[in-house]
Symmetry: C2
Subunit: 289 residues, 2 copies
């Protein structure tokens, strides 16, 4: 049985989902959080729905042993490609993603314009899935939605480059210029890595374009869901954060600060072998005769 | 039993190893080649030795069913992190990599200078492994070896950008300027993706610096090994190329041309589940009593 003291499980392809953890810690500091970063198989954003769904299935199967009260797929690609199937496969587990909250916030930010222009930047796989178009147009049928792939941003951010770097400025200019030309009302950062460059992106898009951070929106959504279901942590003390990664924990620890704002203590290494080995089947032995 | 008609198995994290296949096809057009690209888990260059070794072990275990006469680890990262362990684990299988041939060619190209300056560009993981320093200094003890990580080049190449792109020029300038300043005699392209930009890199490094392509050197090395062991294919017709990938075969097919120069026919999808599921153990049942 889960209780308000049970942890929230947050999963991502690597480091990006830590921006969701950061927002969760700010909004709901009492919550206990388990974070799973699939750093051995990152990135997801260039891979197929079949592959990403298989990875997410393995991770949730692993995380179930900790009896989480809620699972957050804190990765736009995994939400776009795997969320509906995964929800159907784990019917007793409340699972939410990043796209619905981001789309909802975008529509609200666009105000009452009859045909708002909403732009989204995301990974190749998220773009291909058309998940943002669906989520936005379900709420505002006539919205003009312009979703574009910006595949280099994740590796650029993971290399540790900041917004004074010449290459970062060239990449953002190349990606944003054709979007800015169409004068969108809203730009959604459709990947949990991108908030690292939020300030520079806002500056490049100009004052009249509102920039929506899908990580922040996702955290707000989880906080509300827990309040509604009576499962919000009543703790007065701060909750814990425990991290699990599939590749080198030391590397994860050194890069995590940039996304989380604080340090991470002792991340646990879960090898791919551990993750993919199904639990041994129970064999019932009966004595013959 | 293997024979000259048996295939050569070439494996890589994704697409880069196709530059080795291309060189092999040019040098030994009669050879039958199996290519395995681990596109569901690409890239390897940012990951740990433990993880990359586990991936390579799974792939070679899978490829053994085709009874290859030789296995080529056509990925610098996998060679640097996994080759010695993997060779010990598969003692009956001739396995070679890309680093020794590249290092050998670099030392030859450096000529008779008492302290040649040899620069290498590679992935983060290859740099960390110090495999190039070891391979070069074993041959020229006093060589001055300068190995640098250029982590964005793989995602830039996989995005399909060519050398007229402003971002490619900024990235190469940022990475190569500090290397060129030290006036190296030789620069080794220590990643099988990099030959795609060989011309621009040569131009940026200047005429006096020789650029060594580790993919080409690796193919020459395999051709020689097969001739020495009497296993070179005697076919007069061209050999076949059969590809296996762990992610979407259609995407692989569309990107492969850039690396291989020609099209690929019907790549086979091997899912990660197929790759990681060990064969069912044989259980001997004995009747009780």
């Amino acid at each position: 049985m889960v209780s308000p003291a049970s942890p929230i499980a947050v999963l991502d392809s690597g480091l990006g989902g830590l921006t969701v953890v950061r927002a969760l810690q700010q909004q709901s500091p009492a919550e206990n959080i388990l974070y799973f970063g699939d750093t051995a198989r990152v990135p997801y954003g260039t891979k197929s729905a079949h592959t990403v769904t298989a990875f997410v299935r393995e991770i949730i199967t692993y995380l179930q042993r900790f009896r989480p009260k809620h699972v957050v797929i804190a990765c736009n690609t995994a939400t776009a490609l795997a969320l509906p199937i995964i929800k159907a496969e784990f019917p007793h587990l409340p699972i939410s993603g990043v796209i619905e909250p981001g789309a909802r916030a975008a529509v609200v930010a666009a105000g009452s314009k009859p045909i708002p222009r909403i732009a989204v930047i995301a990974t190749e796989a998220t773009v291909k899935s058309k998940a943002y178009e669906r989520a936005i147009c379900r709420r505002r049928q006539h919205a003009h939605v312009d979703v574009r792939a910006t595949p280099l941003l994740v590796p650029i951010i993971e290399e540790g480059r900041d917004d004074r770097d010449a290459l970062v400025r060239v990449a953002l200019t190349q990606y944003l210029k054709p979007i800015a030309k169409k004068l969108p009302d809203v730009l959604v950062l459709g990947c949990t890595h991108y908030p690292v460059f939020k300030q520079l992106i806002s500056q490049m898009m100009g004052e009249r374009c509102k920039v929506i951070d899908s990580a922040e929106q996702c955290a707000q959504d989880v906080t509300q869901r827990l309040q509604v279901s009576g499962l919000a942590s009543p703790n007065e003390d701060g909750g814990y954060l425990k991290c699990f990664v599939t590749d080198d924990p030391a590397k994860f620890q050194s890069l995590a600060r940039r996304f989380l704002g604080t340090s991470i203590l002792n991340p646990v290494h879960v090898t791919i072998e551990e993750l993919t080995t199904p639990p041994m089947p129970t064999i019932e032995l009966r004595q013959a005769g």
